[in-house]
Amino acid sequence: MVELILTYILFLPLLGAVLVWIAPGEKAARVISLITMLAGLALGLVLWLGFDPASADMQFAEVRLEWFTLAGAPIVYQLGVDGISLLLVELTVLLGPVVILSSWSAVTDRVKEYHIFMLILQTGMLGALMALDLFLFYIFWELMLIPMYFLIGAWGGPRRVYAAIKFFLFTMAGSVLMLLAIIFLAYQPVVGSGGATGIEGFDIVALTANLTSTPLKGNIQLLLFAAFALAFAIKVPMFPFHTWLPDAHVEAPTAGSVILAGVLLKMGTYGFIRFAMPLFPYAAVKAVPVISVLALIGIIYGALVSMVQEDVKKLVAYSSVSHLGFVMLGMFALTSTGVQGSLLQMVNHGLSTGALFLLVGIIYERRHTRLISEFGGLSKVMPLFAVFFMIVTLSSVGLPGLNGFVGEFLILAGTFTAKHAHSKYYAVVAATGVIFAACYMLWMFQRVMFGPITKAQNRELKDLNGREVLYLGIILVFIVWIGVYPSTFLSRSQATVDRFIEQVEKGRALTQSSIDSQKTHAEAGGPAGRTER
């Protein structure tokens, strides 16, 4: 049973989708989806308890099914989790029931289809996080697009069609070049033991090990890294590829926004840490200045743009650009502290921003507007809502004691102590982003919640009901837990992160030395290492 747990987690939502399809009515569709997601959460708990924090290897990866062979390369169905993916998988299964609950009364049109797409999306995200085969990963990576496209396009706001197409085309444009890079990489010739020649193949674990001990040539690494990085940077999204995000977020239905912010964006950062960096370590280190500066621009730019938004949802959307900048900065600090912080911040952002979108959705459902100017003094009529909103706002701002602080602190500390040039300046500039965050979030909170009630309609607003308290409460528990005792989560990823940094450093050093030796032997013309590439 435990060997197959990842397979269960992966296909349970798909099974749920089939059941919803044949379910008799709308109510049944909702209940089935909720039960499926809750079962997924339960399996996630089993996974969490069964996970061995001391090991840096892929776990629960016993199942290996040859799927098909294309042009000599076997494509294998193989799943696994390590410290890096575990946290994100848990985040995904946690948000599953939350989004179903959140759309209980918000979605009334084509309920069945809505839930089917939600469940397929869940499978796509989990598959991309757990796949141990590059081809399999790519399938799930693209599979996520289809349901999200429909969720935005069919259940979204007024400009939903534009937003949906933009979302789809941006993501696809990035990923097709990654596809070519994957093909190029997988069909690279490799000299195995005993002089037997083969190809690299799609196995992620083997690829990572191979490319760490015998890295590709430097300039090839740079090209392939660029192709991977473009796909992931669009997904994160990093400045200047972020323009699809505000559109998609604003137009998407609440649950879509939650999933988009909570998990889909993390696919980009996950892609960097799982693929782009360990496979092309030399290029990753070379790219540190570029990525860091873009991350900094994202942090400051996102914050500044948030400040002037009139629409709460748009404000939260732009704040994502800022927060994800932190994640990228910490990851490319290439220190244990920085990467750990960045991993934790991925989860934090999923929880805090997810909760913010839920809260915005709740208020939108009651008032059918999200303009800040339409509100004011809500804390008087909706005290419970105000409490939740405040805690989440503070978590997003980075108040000590809540989750945001831990992540940002680790990232800043990790960046400050990083080995690369100017890292201290990066940390200093990024720290100003924290202040900006306080500005736009608290200012927005003040305008929405405090002051006199200016609009008559706002006097009649109902406070949170039990269902809403329930799903917000789930998130709140983790917001406080991570803020108070982050070790529960950090300890799970420590071993994997340590090895990740070791791998990148080793791969970089090997590439560098082969480049150096080639420079010295340039005239001798002796092809060193893998000149065949």
Binding site: W67, F68, T69, L70, A71, G72, R110, E113, Y138, I139, E142, L143, L145, I146, Y149, F150, G153, A154, R160, V161, A164, I165, F168, L169, M172, A173, V176, L177, L179, L180, I183, F184, Y187
Partner: protein, 525 residues
């Protein structure tokens, strides 16, 4: 008295039975049945399915046992797994087209029995093209295929557009045939033979010889033959007829042209490249011609498709674009010859062989997958066309998902597959094509290809937008429920598009048999 050998009987098994079916149909059509066209359609469908089944059975028992492929009729006709594979495509396309025609023409006064017989005759021509091993057979096949299709395109006699399509296709088709014939004549003049194997033997002498005029004659002729076939494939710059003919022709015929005719033309081209023009691969001109044609075809097809409001016209440009992707595979095939020079001795030949093999296999896989997704898409257009005015425009499709969710789902699957999104077969096919391009170091071509598929996603997605995200604009005419053969065929096509994308191994195994050791020998010697 002409006598056939056993192997020749086996070889012409499929076209022969199709011919008998035509004769049977002629007799039936003259007998006094009620609702004759419809009965004839059902008869044809049953016949084609029976032939499909028989071929599958006999193939399994015979060709697996005797690995030796049959060359018959004085070396004109080559019956092997390659031909058999394409026969499957033709028969499937024909069967689905018959089903679609039954729905499309149901109750119309221009429903004629000839429609089905002409369809069968065209299929015979296709089978001949896939098996042709010399220019004569190739030309016979092309004409046997084309002339019925010219007539079929004008099947809606009272529709001006249909008439225009027929005339246009006939005139430009005749023009292409002339180019093809002229090219064949030049090649014959240079090599002294119209047989592929003889040409292949003669070419190195011509290429290595001192007679430049002879060499140029041959090269020019070879390129004209390729150009003539490119017309049927609808590759840029030989594509001008496609949009008008696809839009004007009755939709089942359009579907047949986009799948069967295209596959047949590619079969002819591929066979010619592998079995006849092999020495030309390394020469450069052919490779460059294919390279440029691939880029132009993909790019023009996709960009012009964006502007289309009529779905048949959009699919016409989309079919041009897909011809471009397939041409990428053919370019990779030609480019694989560089490995014979790059690496010494057997290693080079092995490298060339494995790359050429994967390129040809990719083309076959693509053609099969493309057949299914295109037939599915056209099937939906026919069914919507039965229920609504403007059924073949984006307006007509608006709001379809609410009224006919299953139909919209089939269309969505086909559109995603055509755009190359996993897990559908279009993705696996594109992956295979671009894999072969990259393994032959055609990086720029591959990059242009994948960027093109992003462009194509835009117009395929627009169909989804109108179906799922807009309200109905044109009211439904008939309220009759959609339980017809065409609907079943649609569901089947969608299922195959999903299954072949998720489990491609059986098809890959079949293609492995197509290019067996025997092809390796042919290429290398």
């Amino acid at each position: 008295m002409i006598s056939f050998t056993a192997i020749e009987y086996w070889g012409i098994f499929t076209p022969l039975l199709l011919g008998l079916l035509v004769l049977g149909g002629l007799v039936l059509d003259m007998s006094l049945w009620k609702d004759r066209p419809r009965s004839l359609g059902v008869f044809t469908l049953a016949g084609v399915l029976a032939i499909l089944f028989l071929q599958a059975v006999l193939q399994t028992f015979r060709l697996n046992a005797a690995a030796q492929p049959g060359i018959g009729f004085g070396g004109e006709y080559y019956f092997d797994m390659f031909a058999a594979f394409f026969n499957y495509i033709f028969l499937i396309a024909a069967a689905v087209t018959v089903l679609m025609s039954l729905t499309h023409y149901a109750g119309r006064e221009d429903h004629r029995g000839e429609h089905y017989l002409l369809l069968l005759i065209a299929t015979i021509g296709m089978c001949l093209m896939a098996a042709a091993n010399d220019f004569l057979m190739l030309f016979l096949g092309i004409e046997t295929m084309s002339i019925p299709v010219y007539i079929l395109a004008g099947g809606e006699r009272r529709n001006v557009k249909s008439n225009e399509a027929s005339i246009k296709y006939l005139l430009l088709g005749a023009f292409a045939s002339a180019i093809l014939l002229y090219g064949m004549a030049l090649v014959y003049g240079a090599t002294g033979s119209i047989n592929y194997s003889d040409i292949k033997e003669a070419v190195p002498g011509i290429m290595g010889g001192k007679d430049v005029a002879l060499y140029m004659t041959f090269l020019f002729g070879a390129l004209m033959v390729v150009a003539g076939l490119s017309f049927k494939v609808a590759a840029v710059p030989f594509h001008m007829w496609t949009p008008d003919v696809y839009e004007g022709a009755p939709t089942p015929v359009t579907a047949y042209m986009a799948t069967g005719v295209k596959a047949a033309a590619f079969a002819g081209l591929l066979r010619l490249l592998i079995y006849g023009f092999t020495p030309l691969w390394s020469q450069g001109t052919l490779y460059q011609a294919l390279y440029v044609m691939a880029i132009l075809t993909m790019t023009l097809g996709n960009f012009v498709a964006i502007a289309q409001k009529n779905l048949k016209r959009m699919l016409a440009y989309s079919s041009i674009a897909h011809a471009g992707y397939i041409l990428v595979g053919l370019t990779a095939l030609a480019a694989s010859s560089q490995y014979a020079r790059l690496l010494p001795g057997t290693a080079g030949e092995m490298a060339m062989f494995s790359r050429g093999l994967s390129a040809s296999s990719a083309v076959l896989f693509y053609l099969l997958g493309y057949t299914f997704m295109n037939l599915g898409a056209f099937g939906v257009i026919i069914l919507v066309g039965r229920e609504k005015a403007e059924g073949d425009t984006l307006n007509g499709f608006a709001g379809l998902a609410r009224r006919r969710p299953a139909l919209a789902a089939v269309m969505a699957i086909c559109m995603f597959s055509l755009a190359g999104v996993p897990p559908f077969v279009g993705f696996a096919a594109k992956f295979y094509i671009f894999q072969s391009a990259i393994s032959c170091r055609l990086y720029i071509l591959a990059i242009i290809g994948v960027l093109n598929s992003v462009v194509s996603a835009y117009y395929y997605l627009r169909v989804l937008v109108v179906m799922y995200m807009e309200e109905e604009k044109v009211p439904m005419a008939g309220g009759a429920p959609l339980v017809s053969g065409a609907a079943a065929a649609n569901a089947l096509m969608a299922a195959v598009v999903v299954l072949m994308g998720v489990f491609p191994q059986p098809v890959l195994n079949l293609i492995d048999k197509v290019f067996s050791r025997e092809m390796m020998d042919l290429i290398m010697h």
